[in-house]
């Protein structure tokens, strides 16, 4: 590699730097250093004339390295890199010394500050000597998308992408599309018909030219990386079909919790203790009847079944409260004279229009009873003849402080939503991870709720955590936006300052594979060396420091660069 010819530029930043740092002294100090071809200072390096100065010098003195001592690289690194590029040298052959935020602004002794500045500049000079040109890299994105799960989120995402004219492969485990919503009669809080809502969507998906639906199909294994995934699926036992796609959306949803394990409720013991999903079936069939074919005179709805209780699931299922209030209206309409008991823990009417819906429900001749979902669950017992009802619920009512008996003929258990059985298999296939509650882990709980740490793989809807329809749908679109964005670009940029393995040094100990948070490193059995997939690598450098053989180079942060920077900062003492 050619001898480094370094141009050093010290910025005054008006008086911001020059007030506390003797800019001239710094310049003179470094002029003489080896490989420093030229050292200058200027009032505002970031200003256009400042940048022009650099560009001119690069051309004039054919510099191949540039150091700028100015503000924080977080502010102007990009500016100067672009300047270098303009002048025709690789932007990564540039280094910045932070002499404003981390020197002139924080110190009060001019000589001290100046010395520090010199150290920092020298360090930058030493470091930049070992910089290597790096190229921006992209991978092409296959415009097709694989969506796993045909629930409301999956369907929405599919339509969103397909309507943009892009191919979608929609894979559904069961024999029909529509997911959980298809099992509902009404939706809250506007009590609109779920069937009327979902049917046309399923129709549209079925007839969409850009969507190919695979029912009764599961994803076993996915190979490849962002932009270029592959999988083979066998449609109901037929010979496997090879699919290629650039992005994956997981929308596998959740399944209802089985309350048999909760002894207090005697689910299955008492035939008229039913889950919310079983109740929806009754609603769809049009009749609310007990097993004795009678209309219940007393109906109790118990919230938080399997939720918010360490014995079952600690998390809140987010939708049950509102669904329960929905049932109040439905039972009241069908059974005008029935007594309805809403046995709840906290009323979670948090969404748009929910609190209003809750208020409305209180006018429907209903009795709210509060229990402690952690310490003492209500107990459902068989009733005596004298009670003239089928069952008796015994509970401690919190708001009155009374322990009470509630006569009931039918009990609806608002069951928690929990992970599907096959979730582990999906997770393994698409290379994402699960949290303690068996929910898919998003890339960032706040700023990236739909992406995952695996590029090109997105998670939407309830598999990321319980959600109501609007929130699921919003997530579905969010993922669609990402994917459409990537497709529109045709390619996605990937990290430049990645790690790479020097195969000559690699001893094949595979330590690096263990430490990589992105599963970017794999082991090449034939050559007995580790290989970094630079598409998956995010360049944190953890592997580099773990490698006992020093075989892993983390680009732009190589040992050599950092060590010489250390020498640099210490050189003047």
């Amino acid at each position: 590699m050619e001898e480094p010819r370094i141009g050093v530029y010290v910025c005054w930043c008006g008086t911001n730097i020059s007030k506390m740092v003797d800019v001239e002294a710094v310049t003179n100090e470094v002029k003489a250093l080896p490989n420093v071809t030229i050292a200058k200072n200027y009032k505002y390096m970031c200003s256009d004339p400042g940048q022009d100065l650099i560009i001119k010098d690069i051309k004039l003195h054919n510099l191949n390295r540039v150091v700028v001592a100015a503000c924080s690289p977080r502010i102007h690194e990009l500016t100067f890199r672009t300047a270098c590029e303009k002048a025709g040298i690789n932007p990564y052959l540039f280094e910045m010394a932070n002499v404003r935020e981390q020197d002139s602004w924080v110190h009060t002794d001019r000589t001290e500050a100046t010395n520090k500045a010199i150290d920092l500049v020298v360090a930058a000079i030493r470091r930049v000597r070992y910089h290597e040109p790096l190229q921006k890299r992209f991978v092409n994105v296959n415009p097709a998308t694989l969506i796993i799960g045909g629930g409301i989120s999956g369907l929405t995402a599919a339509l969103e992408i397909a309507n943009a004219g892009k191919q979608v492969y929609l894979v559904e485990k069961s024999d029909q599309l529509g997911g959980q919503v298809k099992k509902f009669d009404l939706t809250f809080p506007h009590l609109s018909s779920a069937q009327q809502m979902i049917r046309p969507i399923v129709q549209r998906v079925d007839n969409h030219p850009n969507i190919s639906v695979f029912l009764e199909t599961e994803i076993r294994e996915v190979t490849g990386y962002i932009g270029n995934f592959k999988t083979a699926i066998s449609v109901n036992g037929g010979d496997p079909v090879e699919l290629e796609f650039g992005n994956i959306i997981a929308a596998v949803g959740l399944k209802p919790f089985n309350p048999e394990v909760i002894s207090e409720y005697n689910y299955k013991e008492f035939p008229d203790v039913i889950t919310s999903f079983e109740f929806e079936e009754k609603l769809l069939a049009g009749r609310i009847l007990t097993v004795y074919g009678k209309e219940p005179r007393n109906v109790a709805i118990i919230h938080c079944v399997g939720s918010r209780n360490k014995k079952y699931h600690e998390y809140c299922s987010r939708v049950c409260c509102m669904a329960a209030l929905k049932y109040v209206h439905q039972v009241r309409a069908a059974l005008p004279s029935a007594n309805i008991f809403e046995i709840y823990a906290d009323m979670r009417a948090y969404g748009k229009g929910h609190e209003e819906f809750y208020a409305l429900t209180t006018h429907r001749q209903i009795m709210f009873l509060m229990y402690d979902q952690q310490k003492k669950l209500p107990v459902i017992n068989q009733a005596d003849r004298s009670d003239n009802c089928n069952m008796i619920i015994e509970m401690d009512e919190l708001l009155s402080g009374q322990s009470i008996e509630v006569p009931v003929d039918m009990v609806i258990l608002m069951v928690n939503m929990e992970a599907q059985e096959n979730v582990k298999q999906v997770v393994r296939a698409i290379g994402v991870s699960l949290c303690g509650n068996q929910f898919f882990i998003e890339k960032h709980p706040k700023l990236d709720p739909v992406a995952t740490t695996t590029g090109g793989v997105y998670i939407i809807g309830t598999c990321q955590g319980p959600k109501d329809i609007p929130d699921s749908v919003a997530q579905a679109r969010a993922a669609a936006a990402r994917i459409l964005g990537a497709i529109a670009q045709g390619s996605v940029p990937i990290e430049v300052t990645t790690a790479s393995v020097n195969e000559l040094l690699c001893c094949g100990c595979q330590t690096c594979i263990g430490v990589c948070p992105y599963k970017a490193i794999s082991y090449d059995e034939n050559n007995k060396v580790s290989i970094v997939n630079e598409i998956l690598c995010k360049g944190c450098g953890t592997c580099g420091s773990a490698c006992p053989a020093g075989a892993i180079i983390s680009k732009h942060f190589t040992d050599l660069q950092i060590l010489s920077e250390i020498e640099g900062v210490m050189s003047m003492s």
């Binding site: 208020a359 006018h363 001749q365 009873l369 009374q402």
Partner: protein
């Protein structure tokens, strides 16, 4: 031991003017707002809860409704428009009907026909008594005036007859009231199987009854002191009048016109002013409907106000006409006066709104009995 909830009780309660109490979502604001709700006797929220759950016995055995003087702070701050203040009011109506063994109270509260009908009936009887009864008994009134130029009222309303009637009425009303208060005592104190109150406590705490009756310190605790004053002024006026008329009628209803500073007239004037002032505040309040306290008016509220006002005004007129010697006017208004007064006493005091003048202080008394209640012997527990 667990109690059974009764959803159907709501329908009964509704008849007593209870509003949208299921709206309450138990934030506790009302209780915190209320300066009167105190340790062990929390309201309104707790009482609302009992109603929502239809816990009949718990409602009937509670004194709290009587501890509330309806300042309205709870209602104005209620985030759910559940209207706790009016709820307590309605509960008082309900309890009045529960205490009353005759069942008339419930009739009066729940049916306007019954209430107004019976009032009219009694009024008519009174008129008949004066126009036919007295003459038939051989009393004939004179129109000639006294030496002072006053009306010879006793010739029209023979003092001993009226007095006798007063006493009779007082006894009937008192009897009813006392029997109801005994039922109240039974429901609040006695019925509680697992606690009992020693006789000594009954004696020791008795002063509270008197104190609360005469001063109404609880009302004084409410943030708005004006209402305490007007209420107390009215109440004291009424009581004085009542005593004077029932116990000292011969001393009060005299033909001799005494000087204005004479105790007889002074007392009369005080009572009249007290009543008028209190009534004025209440009526204007209920008409303006600005304060929450007066926003909701049950029929019983209005009836009572109207009748009392009539009584007072007619009373004043009688007084004037008597002094200025206008016999006919005096006699006519005497009849009207009685025709309003008698039903008011007979209906309102034992069965309706006016009964609270007895129930309130007793409630406070019972409250303190409750606080000093001690657990009974186990054998009684085993019975429950």
């Amino acid at each position: 031991m667990s109690v059974r909830v009764h959803p159907e009780l709501r329908n009964q309660l509704m008849q007593f003017g209870i509003g949208d109490w299921n709206a309450c979502y138990h934030c506790g604001t009302c209780t915190a707002m209320c300066p009167l709700s105190e340790e062990g006797f929390l309201f309104p929220r707790k009482k609302i809860r009992l109603m929502q759950m239809g816990l009949k016995n718990e409602i009937e055995s509670s004194v709290e409704p009587w501890l509330c003087y309806y300042c309205g702070d709870c209602t104005s701050t209620c985030p759910r428009d559940a209207n706790p203040g009016e709820l307590m009011m309605s509960l008082r109506r309900y309890l009045t009907s529960i205490y009353d063994w005759t069942g008339l109270s419930k009739k009066f509260y729940t049916s306007e026909v019954w209430e107004i009908g019976s009032i009219l009936l009694i009024a008519v009887l009174v008129v008949i008594a004066f126009l036919i009864g007295l003459p038939a008994m051989g009393y004939s009134f004179t129109t000639e005036l006294t030496s002072q130029g006053g009306v010879k009222i006793n010739s029209f309303a023979p003092i001993h007859i009226i007095e006798a009637f007063d006493w009779a009425m007082a006894i009937v009303v008192g009897g009813l009231l006392i029997s109801n208060i005994l039922r109240m005592y039974y429901k609040i104190i006695w019925k509680h199987g697992h606690t009992k109150v020693t006789f000594w406590v009954h004696v020791r705490e008795f002063w509270r009854l008197v104190f609360n009756f005469s001063v109404q310190p609880k009302f004084g605790k409410c943030d708005d002191k004006r209402y305490w004053f007007s209420h107390w002024f009215l109440m004291s006026g009424y009581t004085i009048m009542f005593i004077v008329v029932v116990v000292f009628l011969p001393w009060f209803q005299t033909e001799k016109i005494l000087p204005p500073w004479h105790l007889q007239r002074a007392l009369g004037y005080y009572a009249t002013f007290g009543l008028l002032f209190g009534l004025l505040v209440a009526i204007t309040g209920r008409m303006r409907r600005k304060d929450v306290k007066f926003y909701f008016s049950h029929v019983s509220d209005w009836l009572f106000l109207v009748m009392l006002t009539l009584t007072v005004i007619t009373g004043i007129l009688i007084h004037i006409f008597r002094i200025y010697g206008m016999p006919y006017a005096t006699y006519i208004f005497y009849i009207i006066h009685m025709a309003v007064l008698v039903p008011m006493i007979l209906i309102e005091v034992p069965f309706s709104k006016w009964s609270h003048l007895a129930y309130r202080p007793f409630a406070v008394y019972f409250q303190h009995l409750k606080t000093h209640a001690v657990p009974r012997k186990t054998k009684i527990n085993s019975i429950n």
